[in-house]
Assembly symmetry: D2
Homo-oligomer: 131 residues x 4
């Protein structure tokens, strides 16, 4: 999966956001973000968009690791606690895999393993021959 | 609403992402993002997280403009087309306002007014006295 | 569209629920439900599932009216007010139509045109040749 | 929890739909529905609204079992497989409990323990004194 990690290094928005892909295999991926001042919103907690992007990279990695090009159709995210400092992790796990669709759940936790957000998403998978 | 615009300049993740708050009034707001290389994902289209963050700032502005501190509980986003270059706009409109909850719909369009994504979100509103 | 109306008369759960398809054309449909005691939950307001089913039939009709068989992938619903009596209407409108996917928004209102719920859904469309 | 089971027997839409509450405790509940002809849609599979209602009763039971009156704000549901016959079960589990909000995940499975749908929902909890 070294190749996939290399491929996702080309996600420039994740790079801008300081998000790192730690692990990836078909149907699973983990990302990490050390909270910095630039992740905060006007209320001084981590912006929802930064949490979303952290989870989105884990989702993208997990669903693309099967080999087909997959892209996001829809996502819902629910926030449980705000985060101000420390490290956030996102762990993605594919719940159901169709030929054309994949649904993935991503939990975002902090360094104390407290649940920060839940991200659930569906990807559309292109046929391998169409890529 | 100049005050609110100033307040949201302190959203450091929106600033990092090159997102600008154009207009805000109670229940409505518009944001803009000129697509740059740093917004792209590994597939060379704008990362879902960048589109989300653009919409999220419009949502936050629209629901906070009533005067209560409001924070996001949940969001769903649906993507219709990918974007590679040009300018993206997000227009937020509150659909329903309760004392404690507000639901907002945000459309993301490109410079040709084509629909890129639909973002729908609910905020929890703190009582004014609790702030 | 008389044929489609006939087809959806075979939706036995909608029939059980007292839901009627009023109008349907490609990308649009309207359904109606007169609130009866059997729609209420233990808290004596219309059960969320009944509101969902009302909206779901409008969605199914609007996305199937293009001619391809379409089935639901995912839905989000947000509730604004409870309903206890009177008539509920659901109006579906397709927001974006791809070859393989369709996204639809459905508003649920009461007889006074007050917004009761917002239902947003994505359908997967089978190719005509595959039917 | 016999009292709660009795309370939810008064959910008339669940009763109309042939849905039974099997077990409930704070944060957890299970419901069951034996598929009958009246649950089917025009395509002869279980209507999305019936699956939703099955999950919704489990959610309502799980979040109300803490003692506060709780009502649904929003739900997202994702469908994985259609069901035509047999028995469906919904198992609800609260993922996060705030003073005013509760988020719950419900899995819908068939009699072979295959995943049919995933339902995720947020409830607003009234203060005990306000009831």
């Amino acid at each position: 999966m070294t190749e996939l990690k290399e491929f996702f290094k080309n996600d420039r928005y994740a790079a801008l956001s300081g998000i790192e892909l730690l692990e990836v295999e078909p149907g699973k991926a983990t990302t990490r973000m050390s909270i910095r001042d630039e992740h905060l919103n006007a209320g001084n907690v981590v912006q929802g968009g930064a949490i979303f992007t952290l989870a989105d990279l884990a989702f993208a990695a997990a669903v693309n690791a099967y080999g087909n090009l997959a892209f996001s159709i829809e996502t819902s995210i629910r926030y449980f606690q705000s985060a101000k400092s420390g490290i956030l992790y996102a762990e993605a796990r594919v719940l159901y895999l169709h030929r054309k669709l994949a649904t993935c759940e991503v939990t975002v936790t902090n360094q104390d393993k407290e649940l920060i957000a839940l991200f659930t998403a569906t990807a559309y998978r292109k046929d391998v021959v169409n890529q």
